[in-house]
């Protein structure tokens, strides 16, 4: 009798659990019953020449190999800014593409109109998503970058590639100056840069420079990270351009300028010209510029060069990683799922390894490194930079960041070119940037 009671109870509990769990499971995966078959998708991107060819090869392989008959068409639609402007005019219309490259701040702007798919449920879908292992295979900084705290931590994109801010240096000249490795601390960096400004490189003539810094908001962010600060406070959800790290970094750079050891870049591409002709020892730029630096140096003063992290006060380097992700404008569940399947394919390790080599971006999957051994051997600077990806940190994914960037660039110009007081300038920058941010967030779709 007790045996039967136990059995009955067990059966009742099992039945109750099945009633609870099965519908809950079905509810937790809203994509389980969606059929992505035979969808034709449009992918807007900014890639041209070799990158577009490589992307076309990826798309073609996907079209031929996916079992659902999904067809993706890739279209170059101009620069990031061109695509952004086109998208702004098309948001909320059926004319939007199914997939679009977008920087985080651009995606945040689209989301002001509630126009993008939150990929969280797709990512975690038991049927279509990525396993926990696969998710952990992404570089953490890349993976986190498309989660938007200002939009209830919605995932509005996924990174298919990334670049990183690195310090380019002339290794031969460094050796002539008596250093066998790039400077790791700001103090050493200053000493070397100032020495270089007085001691021309043997393969170059004319005036020389220790360091050239383009007035770019990403440079400001990178140096702030290197000094242990951040330009955004993720707790208060406000800019922190006046943080201690930012102030120390800008004061340090201002010191370099006033002592004649550094100069601002006066024209686009100016640093590349000076570096490649052996007149500039250090400059910081995106790792995606590695092939351009190689070509310029090979055509210029022909010296040994490499990349390194920015000198830092933190125990380990803090590297500014950036790059556009891919976002999905809202359409139908079938199209959205089909688009997700392409994203899942695009970010798989094998595809990432090939895409990284062809486009000279970094793959977003750590396991892709195993497939890049040959490439690493022939591209030592790429390998050096790749090894720094673990230290990545990103700039804030907030709407209107472009406007804050423009303000930051003017603040940098005021500090470096006009010698304005660092604290006052950054305080004003922070105030203005936060006013702009508040205006951006004034009426979110979710708050109405």
């Amino acid at each position: 009798m007790p045996h039967r009671i136990v059995l009955s109870l067990t059966a009742a509990i099992a039945l109750a659990l099945s009633l609870i769990v099965i519908p809950a499971g079905a509810q937790s995966d809203p994509w389980a019953e969606v059929d992505p078959s035979n969808q034709t998708l449009v992918f807007w991107h900014n890639h041209t020449r070799n990158r577009q060819d490589a992307l076309q090869a990826i798309v073609q392989t996907f079209n031929e190999s996916n079992p659902y008959g999904i067809t993706v068409t890739q279209e170059t639609q101009g620069s990031y800014a061109d695509i952004f402007r086109k998208m702004l005019g098309l948001l909320g219309t059926p004319e939007v593409p199914d997939l679009v490259v977008a920087y985080q701040n651009q995606a945040a702007t689209y989301q002001l109109r509630d126009a993008l798919v939150d990929m969280t449920s797709l990512l975690h879908s038991p049927k279509w998503g990525l396993s926990a292992e696969e998710q952990a295979d992404f570089f953490p900084a890349f993976f986190r970058q498309d989660i938007f705290p200002l939009f209830d931590n919605a995932r509005l994109g996924l990174a298919p590639n990334r670049s990183m801010e690195v310090l380019y240096y002339n290794r031969d000249w460094l050796a002539e100056l008596g250093y066998d490795e790039p400077p790791r601390t700001p103090e050493t960096f200053k000493a070397v840069a100032c020495k270089a400004a007085q001691t021309p490189f043997s393969k170059a003539g004319g005036s020389t420079m220790g360091y050239q810094l383009s007035l770019d908001a990403s440079r400001l962010a990178s140096w702030t990270f290197a000094f242990g600060g951040d330009i955004f406070d993720y707790e208060t959800r406000l800019y922190s351009y006046d943080s201690d790290g930012a102030q120390q970094a800008m004061a340090f750079l201002q010191g370099l300028y006033t002592e004649g050891c550094a100069r601002p870049v006066g024209e686009r591409g100016g640093a590349l010209v000076d570096f490649s002709t052996g007149r500039l020892l250090f400059t910081s730029a995106s790792s995606s510029g590695l092939p351009f630096f190689k070509a310029a140096v090979d055509a210029g003063a022909k010296f040994d060069w490499s990349v390194a992290p920015l000198p830092h006060t933190t125990p380990t380097p803090v590297m500014n990683v950036y790059g556009a992700s891919v976002s999905m404008p809202k359409s139908t569940p079938e199209r959205e799922l089909a688009t997700w399947l392409f994203i899942r394919y695009f970010t798989s390790p094998e595809v990432q390894a090939g895409w990284g080599q062809a486009a000279n971006y970094f793959p977003v999957r750590q396991s892709a490194a195993q497939l890049l051994d040959d490439y690493f051997q022939h591209h030592s600077a790429y390998k050096t930079a790749f090894d720094l990806l673990q230290y990545g940190r990103h700039e804030p994914p907030v709407p209107g960041y472009d406007f804050a960037r423009a303000m930051a660039e003017e603040a940098m110009a005021a500090i470096f070119a006009q010698g304005r007081e660092v604290e006052k300038t950054l305080t004003k920058l922070n105030r203005d940037a936060n006013v702009s941010l508040r205006e951006q967030m004034e009426f979110l779709p979710s708050t109405e």
């Binding site: 702004l88 007035l215 006066g266 024209e267 209107g400 406007f403 423009a406 003017e410 110009a413």
Partner: protein, 388 residues
């Protein structure tokens, strides 16, 4: 019989009215396509911008804001009112000055003194009002207005003067004048982005840039050009004047030079057309009277070209207030916003800050400014134009 007499004119009148109505209808039908195009592509966008300017519009339409977008741009009403009062005083001063000039000798001096006093009061009110507007309004937008005026005043007189001189030379039918006419016109038809990129290289801050090489030839120090935010008077004479009194920045002067280079050719062509329409008999008569070349230019060519000069000044001024492409290509953060004309600031508000409602309010303000300046130009200079 009398009834028949009365009926005939009535019938004729009705027929005439019908014919008139039909003619009107046909006229309207003929103009309808043009009216539709103007309404659709001219008036509707303007009206829609006006509508947007009353809303918080950020990618999508937000709540109604009334005049707050305008308040954000111009600051609190007190400042705006004081500044508007200054404009009114200025207009009054001009009116009094004109009346005084026409008045008899006894009333001329008091009139001129009154005009001077009004002018001083207008200046004081303008400084006070503008100061308040800067305190409470959008500094970026407000600072863009004097930059725009500097750009217009710096480029238009220079390009008109050079164009007039070149047109007079080309009108002599010298050998190769057709070739030079084409050469002068080329900058106007070349893609602005391409030529602005070349100018950016010429006015680079590099020691090896063409502009600095030229200075080196003259034994002068290299300049930062497009990267220089200091005012021109400070660079030339070392005068450190407050606010806008130091003149445009060297960066803006470099851009002005580009503007002059681009538009001179167009002005030359229009001036040449104007020169061709002046009767040769007048020149012959002047020659018989013993007038020299300067006299001929001063008393015949220049006055009779005044409709053309007026037209070009008007068109150039509107163009200068709307200038965008080359400034966009040539601007640098190192110029510290000293080259940001109103169009640039509106672009940034629209595409960088995505504040469409506020950008629309700025557009309306710029439109009103263009309208006001054009009206003032018409009133002030329009009277000096000689049409016969």
């Amino acid at each position: 019989m009398p009834t028949r007499v009365l009926r005939l004119p009535e019938a004729i009148g009705r027929r005439l009215r019908r014919r008139e109505a039909r003619e009107h209808l046909i006229g309207y039908l003929f103009t309808a396509p043009a009216v539709a195009v103007i309404a659709l592509f001219g008036l509707f966008p303007l009206g829609y911008a006006f509508y947007m300017s009353f809303y918080a519009w950020r990618v999508r339409q937000g709540p109604f804001r009334g005049l707050r977008n305008y308040g954000k741009a111009l600051g609190e009403p007190q400042g705006i009112l004081i500044f508007a009062g200054a404009v009114a005083l200025l207009m009054l001063a001009v009116w009094v000055w004109r009346r005084a000039r026409r008045a008899g000798a006894g009333r001329r001096l008091p009139g001129l003194l009154a005009a001077a006093a009004l002018l001083v009061a207008a200046g004081a009110a303008a400084v006070t009002g503008w100061g308040r507007m800067l305190e409470t309004g959008d500094v970026k937008f407000l600072n863009a207005l004097p930059v725009t005026i500097y750009y217009a005043l710096g480029s238009i007189p220079l390009q008109l003067a050079i164009a007039l001189a070149l047109a007079c030379v080309l009108f002599q039918h010298l050998r190769g004048s057709a070739f030079f006419r084409m050469v002068f016109f080329l900058p106007y038809v070349m893609p602005t982005v391409a030529t602005a990129t070349v100018f950016r290289s010429i006015f680079s801050s590099r020691d090896t840039s063409m502009a600095n090489q030229f200075l080196a030839l003259l034994g002068l120090e290299p300049q930062q050009w497009l990267a220089e935010s200091r005012p021109i008077l400070e660079i030339l004479f070392g005068w450190q004047l407050p606010d806008y009194w130091g003149g445009p920045s060297l960066a803006l002067v470099s851009i002005i030079l580009f503007g002059v280079w681009t538009f001179v050719g167009y002005n030359v062509v229009i001036f040449l057309a104007g020169l061709g329409s002046i009767s040769g008999a007048l020149y012959e008569a002047a020659e018989l009277d013993g007038a020299n070349r300067w006299d001929v230019f001063r008393h015949i060519t220049f006055p009779l070209l005044s409709p053309v000069t007026f037209y070009l000044a008007l068109i150039d001024f509107i163009g200068a207030l709307k200038a965008f492409n080359h400034i966009f290509v040539m601007r640098s953060p190192l110029a510290q916003g000293t080259v940001n004309t109103a169009s640039m600031v509106i672009f940034d508000t629209f595409y960088l800050a995505n504040q469409y409602g506020y950008a629309a309010a700025q557009v309306v303000l710029l439109f009103l400014m263009i309208l006001g300046v054009t009206y003032a130009q018409n009133r002030v200079f329009g009277r000096s134009v000689i049409y016969d």
